[in-house]
Symmetry: C2
Subunit: 349 residues, 2 copies
DNA sequence: CGAAAAATCGTGCCCGTTCACGGAAATTCC
DNA sequence: GGAATTTCCGTGAACGGGCACGATTTTTCG
């Protein structure tokens, strides 16, 4: 039971070399003759030696780096929360010989994403955290990371590339499903003839829409439960605020059910304020400050939210665990809880 | 960005004492004058010093102990898997200055449970893993552990005492719900008039039945979907095998729907073999070898299983994380996936 | 006041690795 | 064969903190 710990010295003695040599073969950084390398390997084998993690961690000089690839967040935007979580996680693992670094890009400019990827790769991180915002760019990055044996963790949404190390985020499909259920709760079929989805015009560059599967979940629920319901889209362009109200003209007062699948429900808050419609139900996602304001003001009925910061926070912790001691996460896919926020439970969220 | 790490020496210098003194106040083990203790605390504060975890772990002599309180498992029994997981976890954290110890008791004898608790407390563990088999005994142990600030992790089932450190197990209610759904899948209401639940006679000593909420989930589903269905119980006594077939006389061939909520569906396998009934559906829980055999033989239709070992395994890892570096688990309640096993997918589970 | 006891405190070794440095051995080359 | 390389390998100083031991200071008390 009480087995003596075997150290690098024991191995060295057994192999008839010095601890320096053992260390060299352990980290196979050369400068060892074939013969003694063999002897050392044999000794390690026979003694069943495992290096002491703590000693190793204490002595090691180089600090590993965890990179985070994120859009440059505008103030109050969704990505700001993601970044905050990442920074918080970074603070937690600082002092463990782990540094964290942000690589940001312009979310409307795919070429800036590619440049950020290059920088990131050049910096040789030991692990990467990223939301797969641009599909192609992400895929290309992912394959390079895989080749270099660098683990990467998706947050927010995930690509099904089979090689990601872990995922932290909302179950997107279910969140859409939930959204539909909440939107139509206790409504009669004749009250659910028409649903308006407000969407963002994206320029072509953005090859992937992270909310597609959320939309699918939503649509599936509606089709299942209200086959006669039509789902129509209104597109708005956030870069031209003055155009928004024009586009929303279509949102006439008798259209009662409104949703947005991204985090920007606050964009239509102004319109809703100026065009009230009793009994209207508006559901959005994510607890951005401005969304919360709209919720408080009664412009938005419900928000489906998550503790966004925790995703990237946990992503960092998971990676650092793996980098330091090789520990894999309990689950590869980690779904956060979908919180339902209304005016009633919005306080101290 | 590149902040110099502050060590215990820096603190000592700043406070005008030696590192020995700093160390003493850090672990407040006395022998320090009020005055210099104050100076040291101030220095720590000002320098924002945090001890280097690795150095500390490397230097520290005493090894912490994680205890596991388990019923003495009979071969092939459910608890054997739990124990194996615990041992596996123990092996993983051995060499991290963490030892694991089993405290076992007779699951039919509450006084042996209490004795085991005493032994456990006397051994001063740094963390405890346990299934809350005896409710009263567990509650009393839990309150003592809380008072001593020793974290404990429930596996298998949990008590809602609000103070447990984490829980690893199946979502019990849902598992019952799932069980009912599977049992009645694609059956017409007139086919679901009668469900038989086979249960174990427990002597009074066993104050808690871990499967109650599973039974609730089951009942709720049935009541919801088949309000006309009656649920009847048959009690068997595993300590008197010869009595089992007598009790099961009531299970006549025309009664097609049979479930057991504990892990012992194998107990009725013999009876089912001798009294076949075409179209009968039998659902049990947990992948015990003998259950798997019954599944393979077609006596049991489905098993709802989980990777039992992983519960206790993860419990150990979680505790060791906390003990060593103070890290809390991502989620307090960790539900394992409910695997549905049939003859078709039983291989290499 | 001075010795004994008690309260404080400093010193130095240890934990098991990593890694730079320089020396020894083997190889190459003239 | 001897000098110049090249290849290999041993040494010892970190790394930052725990803790035993003994030294120093303060307190107690006759």
């Amino acid at each position: 039971m009480e087995e003596k710990k075997i150290t690098i010295f024991d191995v060295a003695a057994r192999a008839g070399v010095s601890k320096g040599t053992v260390d060299r073969v352990l980290h196979n950084r050369g400068e060892v003759s074939r013969k003694s390398a063999e002897k050392v390997r044999k000794a390690i084998e026979e003694l069943n030696y495992e290096p002491n993690l703590y000693a190793s961690l204490l002595a090691t000089k180089k600090s590993r780096m965890i990179a985070c690839l994120l859009p440059e967040p505008e103030a109050g935007e969704y990505w700001e929360k993601v970044r905050n979580g990442f920074l918080a996680g970074g603070a937690e693992v600082a002092g463990l010989n782990i540094v964290t670094r942000l690589f940001s890009y312009d979310q409307y400019d795919p070429s800036s994403f590619d440049r950020a990827c290059e920088n990131l790769l050049a910096a040789a991180p030991a692990g990467v955290v990223l939301p797969p915002l641009f599909k192609n760019g992400t895929m290309s990055l992912a394959s390079k990371l895989k080749a270099m044996d660098i683990p990467y963790v998706y947050v927010d949404t995930k690509l099904e590339d089979g090689d990601y190390f872990a995922y932290f985020g909302m179950p997107m499909y279910q969140s859409g499903y939930l959204c539909a259920a909440l939107l139509t709760e206790r409504l009669e079929p004749e009250e659910v003839k028409d649903v308006v989805v407000v969407r963002i015009i994206r320029d072509k560059s953005r090859q992937s829409d992270p909310t597609v599967s959320r939309r699918e979940g939503f649509t599936d629920y509606i089709l299942d439960h209200f086959p006669d319901c039509s789902i129509s889209n209104i597109f708005i362009d956030p870069s031209r605020p003055e155009s928004i109200s024009k586009a929303l003209k279509e949102l006439t007062p008798e259209r009662k059910l409104v949703v947005m699948f991204n985090s920007r429900i606050h964009l239509i808050a102004d319109f809703l304020r100026r065009n009230p419609s009793p009994g209207r139900r508006v559901i959005g996602f994510d607890n951005l400050d401005r969304n919360m304001d709209a919720l408080r003001d009664g412009l938005v009925t419900l928000l489906i939210a998550q503790h966004t910061e925790r995703q990237s926070h946990n992503a960092v912790l998971t990676l650092s665990d793996y980098i330091l001691v090789g520990k894999k996460p309990l689950n590869r896919d980690n779904y956060v809880h979908m919180d339902i926020l209304s005016r009633l439970n919005i306080d101290n969220y």
